[in-house]
C-alpha cells in the first residue's frame, strides 16, 4: 500500500489472505525443495538405474570392469602386446587396456597419447592431465581428445584415464564415440571406470 494514502487498504476479494510470519517460510521452503528435486533428481535416478549387468570383465588379471546394463563385451584380445577388452553400447565404446609396467600415470597417459596419434589423424588432446580418483581409492590422470579415424574419415572424440596398480602395472581406460555422441555415453563410461577394481 502507498504510504501517502494513509488509510489501510481493504484486501482485494480474490487476494490471498496475509500469511502469519511462521507460515511465510512454507512456500519458499517448498520452492527450495522443488529446485533440489529437479536439480539433483536426475543424478539420483541415474545412480539408481546404473545397475551392473552380468559378471565383471577382467583384463589380464590387472583390472576388472563391471559393465552396466546395455553394455556388452565387443572384443577381447591383444594388440601390440597389450591385452585389452572392448565394451560397447550403440555407438559408445570403452576400451580397457592392461598396459604392463609403467613409471607413472603421467608417463602412461603420454605413451597412450602416442598410440592415439598413430591411429588418428588431426589428433587434438587436452594439454592438462586432470586428476581422477576411482571409487576404490586409486588415483589417476585423464585427458580428452578429438581425432579422425584414418580408414573411415569419421571424427571421434574420447576421454582417457590412466591408472597404476599398486605394483606398478599400467591400466588405460579409453571411452570414445563418434563426434557429438560422447556426451550421451560419458556418464556410463565414467561410472564404469569409477567402479573398476584395479590390481
Amino acid at each position: 500500500m502507498d504510504a501517502s494514502i494513509g488509510t489501510a487498504q481493504p484486501r482485494r476479494p480474490d487476494e490471498a489472505a496475509p500469511l502469519a510470519p511462521a507460515r511465510r517460510w512454507v512456500a519458499p521452503l517448498i520452492v527450495l525443495l522443488v529446485i533440489v528435486a529437479v536439480v539433483a533428481g536426475g543424478y539420483l535416478v541415474y545412480a539408481a538405474l546404473a545397475e551392473p549387468a552380468g559378471p565383471p570383465v577382467g583384463v589380464d588379471g590387472v583390472v576388472s570392469v563391471q559393465p552396466l546394463s546395455g553394455w556388452e563385451v565387443a572384443g577381447q584380445g591383444e594388440v601390440g602386446g597389450y591385452a585389452y577388452t572392448r565394451l560397447s553400447r550403440g555407438s559408445g565404446t570403452l576400451d580397457v587396456v592392461a598396459w604392463g609396467p609403467a613409471t607413472s600415470e603421467a608417463s602412461l597417459a603420454t605413451d597412450y597419447r602416442s598410440v592415439l596419434e598413430s591411429q588418428l589423424s588431426q589428433l587434438q588432446a587436452s594439454d592438462e592431465l586432470a586428476p581422477v580418483v576411482l571409487e576404490d581409492g586409486s588415483s589417476g590422470l585423464g585427458f580428452r581428445y578429438v581425432g579422425v579415424v584414418a580408414d573411415s574419415g569419421a571424427t571421434v572424440e574420447g576421454v582417457v584415464t590412466s591408472v597404476l596398480t599398486p605394483d606398478g602395472q599400467g591400466v588405460v581406460f579409453d571411452g570414445w564415440a563418434p563426434e557429438g555422441m560422447l556426451s550421451f555415453v560419458d556418464g556410463d563410461i565414467e561410472t564404469m571406470v569409477d567402479r573398476a577394481v584395479i590390481g
Binding site: 520452492v31 538405474l49 555407438s91 555422441m181 556418464g187
Partner: protein, 400 residues
Amino acid sequence: MALAARRRPFHQARFMQPRLPAFWLYMVLLVATGVVAVAEQAVFRDASPDGFALSWLLLAVYALPVFAVIYALDLYEREPLSLMVAAFLWGAVVATTLSAIANGGWGLVVARVGGPEFAARWTAALTAPFVEETMKGLGVVMVYLIARDEFDDAMDGFVYGAVCGLGFAVVEDVFYFAAIFGGGVRGVLQGFFLRVVASGLYSHVLYTGIVGMAVGIVVSRRSTSTRGRRLAQAAGLCGVAAFAHFLWNSPLLDLFPAEPWTGTDWLLIPVATAVKGLPLLVFVAIAVVLARRRERRWLRLALSTEVGGDGISAEELRLLEAPRMRRDARRTMRRRAGSRAASLLHRLQREQVNLAMVASRAADPSDPALAQQRDLCRSLRDALLAMPGAAPAETTGAAG
C-alpha cells in the same frame, strides 16, 4: 497539497522486502548462481572478445524492445520495474544455471534408459521442457511470494513469466553463440539469425509467459473460481507450454535444410521455425487478447458504481477503457495546454485505474480508502482544469 507530493503509483510493491523469507531465498540463489554465471561469461569473453561483445550488443538490440512490449502489455497497471528486473534476472541467472545442471542429470537418465542413439535425438526434447519450464516458472512464483499484491490476474503472471523467459533466452543465446556457433563474429551473426531473427518470436518468452499466466490464474480469481478449476486451468496452460517446448526441441516436424547451410537454405530456416513455433504464437496472442478483454471488463465493473461521482466521469471511463484513446487524449492535451497538463492527465488516468483497484477491494462505498482515492482523483482533475487551455468548453470530460 496532495498534488505536490511525488508518490509512487498506487498498489506498486517493491522488490526489496527483507522481512520476507522469499526475498532472502531469491537473493541467496541469485548470488550463488551468479558466481557460476559470471565465470561462464568470462570464459566466453576470453575465448572471443569481439564475438562476446557483439553477442551482447545484438541481444540488447533484441531484448530491450521485447522488454518494453511486455511491459506495455498490461493495459491498466504497469508492473513495478524492480519486480520486472527481478523476474528477468531470475530467468537470466538462476534458471539458466540451475537448468544446465539439472539438464545434465536428466540427460544421463535418458541416455541410460534409451541408449546413446535415442538420447542424441530426444534428450533435449525430453529434459528441457520439464526442467527449464519448472525453473523459470519458479521465478514467477518467487516474484509472487515477494509481492503477492501485484498478481491481480493472469495477465500479471504472463508479464512476469515472459520477462523471466526473455532473461533465460538472452543468456542461453550467448551460450549458443559461443559454444555451438564458435563464438567468432561470423558464428555470432549466424547464431543471431537462427536463434533470434528466425526463432526469437517463438521460444522462452512465450513458454514462460504461458506458465506465468498459469501462476496468475492460481493465485488470483479466488472469488470467481474454485481451487480445482483454477488448478485445472493452470495445469492445462503448463501442459501447453511444455508441449510447445517439447515440439520445438524434438526431431518432429523438422523441416530444417540439411547442413551446411548455403544460399537459399538460409531463407528456408524461418519457414522451418515458423512451422514449429507459429501455432504457439497464435495461441499466446489469443490468450493475451482474452486476458486483456477480461481486464477491460474488470475495469468497467470495478468502476460501475463510481461513474458520475467525484472519481471518474462517464467520458473519462470511456477513454480509460481504450489505451489508444487514452494516449490520444494526452496528445491532444499536450498540444492544447502543454506537457505539464498532459503529464497531469496521465497521472489522473493512472489514479483512476487505482480507483478501480480500491473499489474492487472495498466492501462498501463509504470505505475510507475509497473516499480518499476519489478525493485524490477529484483534486487532480481540479488542478488540471485550472491550467490554461486544459479545459475547452465542449470537451471537459475528455480533458478531465
